[in-house]
Symmetry: C2
Subunit: 325 residues, 2 copies
């Protein structure tokens, strides 16, 4: 899959570089450093492939794709601060490498430069509606992030599956959905095709996040060490937790919420948590939910004519829930 995505990745990385190759090193150096670390670039790939899947040229969606990837990365810079993360793409987070003030501001600058790329995309395409679409999605991302942070901060445990999905549709779904939607718009797709792409992107985003949460709970705990169960230390509300809390004994519930509310947990506590989740089949149930979402998403693409781009979207969707750590 990486090989099939690499032409899109190279295009978008070159485009982003053009926007960040400027003076005022104090702002742009940390940003160039972040992008030099690589990354999956799934959102810009989705945007350009969606453009091709409705008959457009990938370059028609390139500037919007670059903007979306910049928006995604600005949220990563800021989320890493909120989550007190130490590493991003295997290297120190920007707030550790350059300081808190520089990192917050670098995220802001990246957000702003993304809108420079979007303005250029509008001039190129004559389609100003893409700004409103991407902006609404970005607001949704911030809403989801606010819910996610507040639930941990307020020790909120009274959460339904619907509440979790509502959060994750915002935090992860909205930007993937608009990536596909805007690709469809810039490729000249029909209303029906554009809607299908948006819905496909939403299913993909939500499925992606749920699968990601599952990955954080599986694998060989000893082998992966600190990485496994990071969400447990951060107290993240995930589907496996919500499924379990609805089924487990009051004693198990007290134990789970106690561990999740703490900031640091021992290897034994992480292991104990994962065992309770597995006792109720919640991790496997989460994995199934992700797979079902992805399968549903793939069906939505039936309105698109067969093409290599459509095939790539379908394969990318399947790949997303097959990924391992």
């Amino acid at each position: 899959m990486k090989k099939r995505l690499s032409p899109y990745m190279r295009l978008v990385d070159a485009e982003i570089s053009r926007y960040l190759d400027r003076d005022v090193e104090e702002l742009y150096k940390p940003l160039r450093n972040l992008f030099s670390r690589g990354g999956k670039r799934i959102r810009p790939a989705l945007c350009m492939i969606s453009c091709e899947a409705v008959g457009g040229n990938r370059r028609d969606a390139l500037k919007a794709a670059a903007a979306i990837e910049m928006i995604h990365n600005f949220t990563l810079i800021h989320d890493d601060i909120a989550d007190r993360s130490k590493l991003r793409r295997g290297k120190p987070c920007l707030h550790h490498k350059y300081g808190l003030g520089i990192a917050i501001n670098a995220g802001d600058g990246l957000f702003s430069v993304a809108y420079e790329a979007l303005s250029d995309a509008v001039i190129q395409s004559g389609k100003p509606e893409i700004i409103a679409d991407i902006t609404k999605a970005t607001t949704r991302v911030c809403e989801g992030q606010a819910m996610d942070i507040s639930w941990v901060q307020e020790r909120q445990w009274d959460l339904t599956e619907d509440a979790y999905l509502s959060m994750i549709r915002r935090k992860t779904g909205a930007l993937m959905a608009v990536s596909c939607k805007v690709g469809g718009i810039l490729g000249g797709g029909t209303k029906r095709q554009i809607d299908a792409l948006a819905n496909f992107g939403m299913d993909l985003g939500v499925g992606f996040q749920i699968h990601d949460d599952v990955l954080n709970l599986t694998g060989d705990v000893k082998k992966y060490g600190k990485e496994i169960g990071g969400d447990i230390n951060e107290g993240k509300r995930t589907l496996a937790i919500i499924y379990t809390l609805a089924l487990c004994t009051p004693e198990e519930k007290r134990r789970l919420t106690h561990i999740l509310d703490k900031e640091e947990n021992s290897y034994e506590e992480i292991k104990e948590t994962i065992e309770i989740l597995n006792k109720y089949g919640s991790v496997e149930r989460g994995a199934n939910t992700a797979r079902e979402l992805i399968e549903g998403g793939k069906k939505r693409l039936s309105v698109l004519p067969d093409s290599p781009a459509k095939k790539l979207l379908l394969d990318l969707a399947s790949y997303i829930v097959k990924r391992e750590r």
Copy 2:
């Protein structure tokens, strides 16, 4: 002056409220809290008055004005974190009231909502170029903030007046300039009028910031207590400091940079710093520079026909350098 600005303030506050009156309390409540504290709303006023000064209706510029005020406020939320400030408009900064993660994200959400208002402004006006203009200004603001933070962090003292002006044109000038420029565009001004308004706004912004820096060094130190000399504790590079460092003895330079590099200073150290600055007439020289900039800016408006709006712009400019603490 406050009384003459209040109709603009009421309009823009009502418009901003419309954008922030939404569900997802976790995001919008902190933002409504911030705006409920008031504020001068100088930038949106400049935008709407500039619109009137070229013959437009203030409502034509209302959504853009609201967007600019939202952008300004998102930078305040984030700057307060970088500066480790405790109070904003007399109440705890958002990061103190709601926590770091919520505050960073609230700033991001506000940035995004500003672009929703801008998208609406483009639909209303049919002038998409205002997005590119405001975005470029916002990028400049981030560049200026990066320079400002880095100079303190890297203990950079080798700074010229030009370097300071280059920073402050970005950090404060750019958004004031674009406020006036976009008002001129939305009011249907000529190219010459729009350019004059942009240059007026830049002079106003730079003069405003220099005057603000001077205010932080003047007044009755005992009476104002902690507020006086806050910039000295933060180690901010200001014009009075740069003027003094170019003139003072090596011993005074060592003393000044030592105090400015420290995070906490005693009342005596703040007083000593202000005395050295005054010995070289640097505070008064800064005040003069601000006044000259403002006078230059006012002359630029000669291309505008006489009107109550033009009179208000001129009076607002004079007011800005007459303000006291």
